[in-house]
Symmetry: C3
Subunit: 313 residues, 3 copies
Amino acid sequence: MNHMPYPHASLKALPDQLIDSFFAYQRLHHIGSGFMPTRQEIYRITDELFTLLFPGFYGRQDLSRENVTEHIRRKTNNLYERLYLQIFHCFNCRRSQSNQAEKKASQTAEKFMLSLLRIRESLADDILSAYQGDPAASGTDEIIFSYPATLAIGTYRLANALWKLGVPLMPRIMTEYAHSRTGIDIHPGATIGRGFFIDHGTGVVIGETTIIGDNCKLYQGVTLGAISFPHDDSGLIVRKTKRHPTLEDDVTVYSNASILGNIIIGKGSTVGGGVFLTRAIPPGCTVTTKSIELKYRKQCDVFAPSVVSDFQI
Amino acid sequence: MNHMPYPHASLKALPDQLIDSFFAYQRLHHIGSGFMPTRQEIYRITDELFTLLFPGFYGRQDLSRENVTEHIRRKTNNLYERLYLQIFHCFNCRRSQSNQAEKKASQTAEKFMLSLLRIRESLADDILSAYQGDPAASGTDEIIFSYPATLAIGTYRLANALWKLGVPLMPRIMTEYAHSRTGIDIHPGATIGRGFFIDHGTGVVIGETTIIGDNCKLYQGVTLGAISFPHDDSGLIVRKTKRHPTLEDDVTVYSNASILGNIIIGKGSTVGGGVFLTRAIPPGCTVTTKSIELKYRKQCDVFAPSVVSDFQI
Amino acid sequence: MNHMPYPHASLKALPDQLIDSFFAYQRLHHIGSGFMPTRQEIYRITDELFTLLFPGFYGRQDLSRENVTEHIRRKTNNLYERLYLQIFHCFNCRRSQSNQAEKKASQTAEKFMLSLLRIRESLADDILSAYQGDPAASGTDEIIFSYPATLAIGTYRLANALWKLGVPLMPRIMTEYAHSRTGIDIHPGATIGRGFFIDHGTGVVIGETTIIGDNCKLYQGVTLGAISFPHDDSGLIVRKTKRHPTLEDDVTVYSNASILGNIIIGKGSTVGGGVFLTRAIPPGCTVTTKSIELKYRKQCDVFAPSVVSDFQI
């Protein structure tokens, strides 16, 4: 059926034109330079780290007290080696050159692996908060297997450990992998306390300099964002300043609320659904939107064909 | 280039520390217990069920009236067996122990497979509603191939059938798989009528006890959620009460509207974009937000450098 | 453990019932007709086109000035042939029959491949706009590796080239693939100028007839949508009319704003977060929501157990 037509003459020149185009835009290629980290391998490493965080849920099913030691020994060695290589490339690729990248990568991979113990402790609290906070949860198994919060917060905690160790690129690749799968965008530079839960989660944005205390809860569509960016004298954007909110302990933010700027939401406060907030809130407060007046109109349509009038319910 | 550094001494102790950590948090591991269901296998089964829902679109391309019978016979047998195994694990894993799990799993898998006929009938209506409701749709092929609604609603209808048969874990794993790929979060316990369409869909949340009639349409960012959760005397959250809205037939909800609580939206009503609704609406109504006053300010910038003043359009 | 129960008698009839069901709903199957395009293959082609857009970031790592020519020659030939086949099926499948589909597909695939040069030029501007517009960006490597905007806008620019060449189905399959991975839903028919950036992006919707000028920036949750659809005399929805907004050059739209209908947002204007806009805006304007009054209530809870009163901050 499909006789493959002979490539068109015009296509003969395309490879050379493409290569000229590669070298015309230096920032869009990595040709003839140090290897870049491999995005797919970082995705796989993230997935396999979850088999250490939640053994028996992810990865090998037949783990028992007899075989678990040998399995975990192999898995940790394997992950250490693969992490080392990706971290090395992150330190050593063209635009992130670093002296002694090998030594630095090896020490960083070591410190990261040891941090898994602390990360598991945090996640135990996170899972419990999810169970206590969601009436639809049938149990913690369901939360571990299916809740986007588990994936997004777990990946954030892994990426944040690498971020604090100064690894370029990789932390953000990991959190954007979780963002892609959950709709929850947590910057690896954010600081998040224990017992954190995000319900549903699609559309949540947590900016780089956000600080979140213990036992906080967010719903879908919540933005913890910046309100404006300072520019320097030459008009360039200033990076790394604290420009996102701080949530103290026990704060709840309901769906689609936006909290913008370097402001403090006091301990135990609640921000209602849809609230657009750019001012600080003291502790123990509930902030809701004053009801927006709604307009009700009886429709003239197939379902109510003869009644056309304004009315109040 | 990359001499793999010898594993650090500190890593030697990590496997045993991790294993101690596993057994310190009972809820975060499944070691030495009955097998859990396998998330990836449930994802694959879901994908393959779509080849029965939309044959020729997904899966094998060369189906004809001659070979389709043999192909479908094999595919249904294969899927029955794999569903049986996952359902068995869902009934039988540690925290969901069930007597006679084998018999129950076998009968459940059978009933589920037979329900595919009814699910196809529903999807035929859903696809038609999508075509009738979206002016950008070039045809039903495009809807089946590319619309997130097809994936999200199709997966919901499969998962809801398993939910009604009492299968733990698996229905939620399936709908969260669709949530991950579409941004549409439909709880498998929701009740949804025929001819349902969700346009764009990212950020849609449909809670566990939501009821939706026939021929309803939602846009992106719509929440059908709960407004508060009752707690029992000991302060624990009460589960399974009806806490989400009921939409009667022919209701349309525009983008980013939130409808919260156990309230009824009457037949044929329309809820406007961005409306935040916690009160019932009678049939045949249109509810919109009273226009929020906007502030217009002429900017002093490169595009209008000399004009700085308040003005009204 | 798991004795596979013998298939139930009721399942014996299922294959034939399913096949009856297939032929009862003509639009839900492609059996015995021309091959459909293959969604998974279109996904893979999209991924591989990114290795031509950003060589060394995606795909083969060890590219050098010595081996790049041979690699790109093979890759372009391979992609041309695979594109040809999918485009052929798009032109030739049952409900999109086209005369001379082979010739048309071959010419279309050729034109598309040649358009890659122009698409790379556009993407160079897009990446630069992202770096200039986001204070959290550590560099363009991070943007290429991890920003959803790179994936969504890159895929849109590929799909838009196919859309302008008149290819059915495939452009939408490509943009919905990006939508699935980023939460950003850009219709391939939209017209988008240079230097375009979307930050975070989850929930963004850009409709089919939207026009966006140069150097525009959107944040998460922005809808550029239609406000109503005309219907013809027989009650059918009218397709293809201009029903979405036009953004002139240098427009910024902050998070969760909705701009609906065929209206013009003038050059250099800014639309604030959460604004719901259905009227045109002249050039050089800032439009924000007049602050919605918030209600503050001191909570009576564990954190502030004895103070229950209304108060103003």
